[in-house]
Amino acid sequence: MLALTVLYAQFADAPAVIGAVKGMGAVTAGLFIGTGLSLARTLKDNPMRAAACAFVGIATFVAVALMHWPAWISLVFGAAASVYAWRRVGAPVRNERRKQP
């Protein structure tokens, strides 16, 4: 891949190359967005319900994409969301504990 990069650097000024890279950039942006969206269906079984998941996801998006907050803010959001999820995951099954003598 570095070979490709060096090759690219050589031809970077050719208009066709510039155009191609711009086109690939646009597609890549779409790939990222599409990947995120298609991963959203894994949230179906999340202990947090749809509203909470949507809230956390949208909050993260707004913070990072629109307000340009630094990435570590995701850890703060993650901690808060995890605490909420912890309560929704529910207490461990108590019967199993009581069975032990």
Partner: protein, 178 residues
């Protein structure tokens, strides 16, 4: 646009990537917004156009997309830059992933672990979307956006191969439609 790169710059780069590596265990794509902020806005090591093109080149080439960090490093500071960014990104997260996998294997059903996974899931999903948005926002050109939207929809709703889409994008761009 490349300012002279000093050793101090390389060290800063390495530390930044290390921190990003720890923060973005979900996917390297999440590192993109911050890498851009530090390397283009703060340090001025390369231009926005160079940064965007790095991502495009890395996606087009075979291999994991996270290698864009190496391409960005190369454009900023040559081979040394590429090595610094790649190592910075790889070392902490692979170490951490290894340790976490060992720790988590025996505790898979633990409530805090399940809660952590559940809590982080929407965030891990939001990051690629945010990165894509930031990438697309570079060129608020109608045809550009249309291409981005088309690619997003295709990935989301169909099984069209990603490389095919990249190739189409490259062709359209080279022919001057974008």
């Amino acid at each position: 646009m490349m300012t002279t790169v000093t050793i101090a710059d390389l060290v800063t780069l390495f530390v930044t990537l290390t921190v990003l590596s720890l923060l973005t265990n979900g996917s390297a794509v999440a590192a993109m917004p911050d890498m851009r902020r530090v390397m283009v806005s703060d340090m001025g090591l390369l231009s926005d156009a160079q940064f965007t093109s790095s991502i495009a080149v890395a996606q087009a080439a075979p291999g994991p997309g996270m290698l864009f960090v190496a391409v960005v490093g190369y454009q900023a500071a040559g081979l040394l830059g590429a090595a610094v960014t790649l190592l910075g990104m790889l070392l902490p997260s692979t170490t951490l992933a290894y340790a976490a996998a060992r720790w988590g294997r025996n505790r898979r059903q633990s409530r805090p672990l399940r809660a952590l996974k559940a809590g982080m899931a929407p965030i891990v999903i939001a990051f690629p979307v945010a990165s894509g948005w930031l990438l697309a926002a570079q060129t608020p050109d109608l045809r550009h956006i249309a291409l981005t939207v088309a690619a997003a929809l295709l990935v989301w709703l169909t099984r069209v191969h990603m490389l095919l889409m990249i190739a189409v994008g490259a062709t359209l761009g080279a022919l001057g439609f974008i």
